[in-house]
Symmetry: C2
Subunit: 331 residues, 2 copies
């Protein structure tokens, strides 16, 4: 039957039973810009809310070429072997401009994508960072309601999107390459500060020694960035998606983090804080969207633009006048 | 007489006659958050607008320790020797937190600050980046109306404020130190991309050879960042605030830039574009300020915050509801 014939309740029931087709359709609704779709998806989210949240949310980033897909393929297999249901999502606002979603090419996760307890959802092929963040966050809730207890959220090492990912995940993993001496140049310092752990990939063959050296080097650097709030000291590890080296260590570390922060209460606190921040960001985006959609504002802005082209304007005085005008007419 | 006794017209006349006391008082009004002060300053800006803009606006940045103050002291002296009236302003949103305004300590510009054709205004000691940008931009217009034809706007190499400075200046100068091999680490790549020229400071004594080597190195790097729009290829120079080496070259370069971009029309176009962008940024800031000041919004936000502390919320759904509610009540 077609999506439009389904009620919110149909979706909720299907998703709670782990129906992947309905899950995918619900995510499509979440990604849709059509008014009725947003209404329906809001109802679905309402329905599944109490069943969401029961997962570990892992954010993964790293510069292109670091081997994110191979890492997810190998680490994901370890997760399913140990009985987890794994969902892989992506935050990739750049995907519209660039060659396409970093997860679009599922062939890069061949085995994983065909595994029955794995759900891979390509990144929405367009949208603002705020939009993509909402899509990813709400898709994650739907996946959790469908029984996926380990969510991997991938992003490209482009800056803003890392902040978005760390804003919706429990643990933020930064993948890096050893050697080349310019490790610090690819990734922004701000991103290292966000990371709960740093993993040097491709630690195999001739690269193993270099990787171990880099791990030591970073272990020192990471100490500067320790998140006092959580009481967690960022770790530095190595892994190989070829040999599987270090994969179990990474999972052990994540379990250690979950246990520590759960007993300290930080795990839940962080999620609450994240929810409120998401709300604040979304609220401001909505306000500006509404404001710019206002006919009066459009007209006035157009007038200012024309003025600025022909003569000179007083940007701040004019901005104040137009905003005031709008908010007065708004009261 | 006290500032409040003066009319906008008094200010305008005084400023146009180059009265430094009235100029300073007007800038204080611009920096004030009091409603009546903002009204008065808006009238003053209205009055001087047609007399502003007749200057070269130079943005100067660099990491702490690069020698910004010494550079401005030496380069400023060259400017006044050649008949310019020089105003020095700063964008420094961090100054509230840090040890104070980077221009607060005028003693670091001893000779310059006492020169009759020089006006140095310390950075506002607090405020958001948006606020400080407005203060600096409007202060600049007032200085121009008072006859200052060369405006130096200094900022610390902290990131955001560079974007702000390049958003209100004609030419963006990046000061850098030679050697240490880690030149690129101090400054963000994004800032290099903004720079119209890069000047290696402290090119004297034993440091001269190193500086010349760095200049060559950067000259190559800068080629990657050439601003196609202006047709200007970013330059790489060296200077010494001790020997004065390179100072005249820098001034020659600025004159070359002004001549080229004036005849091409880019000089004026850039200012028009800057004005409109400033307007757009200011408009969004005003809208959010108004929105958050709204009692209903405050109440609703408080409710969501409490909910997020006790239970779980749907950040995006709630944001949409509250924004819609406000804008409906607003129509």
């Amino acid at each position: 039957m077609a999506a439009k014939e389904l009620s919110a309740e149909d979706y909720v029931q299907g998703i709670l039973q782990g129906d992947v087709v309905l899950l995918s359709k619900a995510i499509t609704l979440v990604e849709s810009t059509r008014e009725e779709h947003r209404e329906l998806s809001a109802q679905i989210l309402e329905g599944i809310e109490s069943h969401s949240g029961k997962s570990f949310r892992l954010g993964i980033t790293g510069v292109p070429g670091v081997g994110k897909s191979s890492f997810i393929e190998r680490f994901g297999k370890l997760l399913v072997e140990q009985g987890h249901k794994v969902a892989v999502l992506a935050i990739d606002p750049s995907s519209s401009k660039s060659k396409g979603s970093i997860l679009g090419d599922k062939t890069r996760m061949n085995e994983l994508s065909t595994h029955p307890s794995v759900y891979i959802r390509p990144s929405p092929s367009s949208g603002s960072l705020g939009g993509v963040t909402r899509h990813t966050y709400e898709s994650m809730l739907l996946c959790e309601a469908a029984g996926y207890d380990f969510i991997l959220i991938e992003t490209v090492g482009v800056g803003q999107s890392e902040t978005a990912v760390s804003g919706i995940t429990d643990f933020f993993l930064l993948l890096m390459l050893a050697g080349a001496g310019d490790e610090l140049q690819g990734i922004k310092r701000g991103i290292m500060e966000m990371a709960d752990a740093l993993v040097i990939t491709k630690a195999d063959g001739d690269n193993l020694i270099k990787a171990k050296a880099a791990r030591t080097e970073y272990a020192q650097a990471m100490h500067l960035f320790q998140a006092a709030e959580s009481g967690w000291i960022p770790k530095s590890l190595i892994c190989s998606s070829v040999s599987g080296e270090g994969m179990q260590d990474i999972l052990n570390m994540l379990n250690e983090y979950k246990n520590k922060t759960t007993s300290s209460g930080y795990f839940t606190e962080k999620r609450k804080t994240q929810q409120f921040h998401l709300f604040q960001q979304a609220l401001e985006e909505e306000v500006l969207r509404n404001f710019h959609a206002n006919a009066e504002v459009k007209k006035e802005t157009e007038v200012v633009f024309t003025k600025s082209k022909t003569g000179s304007i007083q940007p701040f005085v004019m901005a104040r006048k137009i905003a005031a005008l709008f908010f007065k007419s708004g009261k």
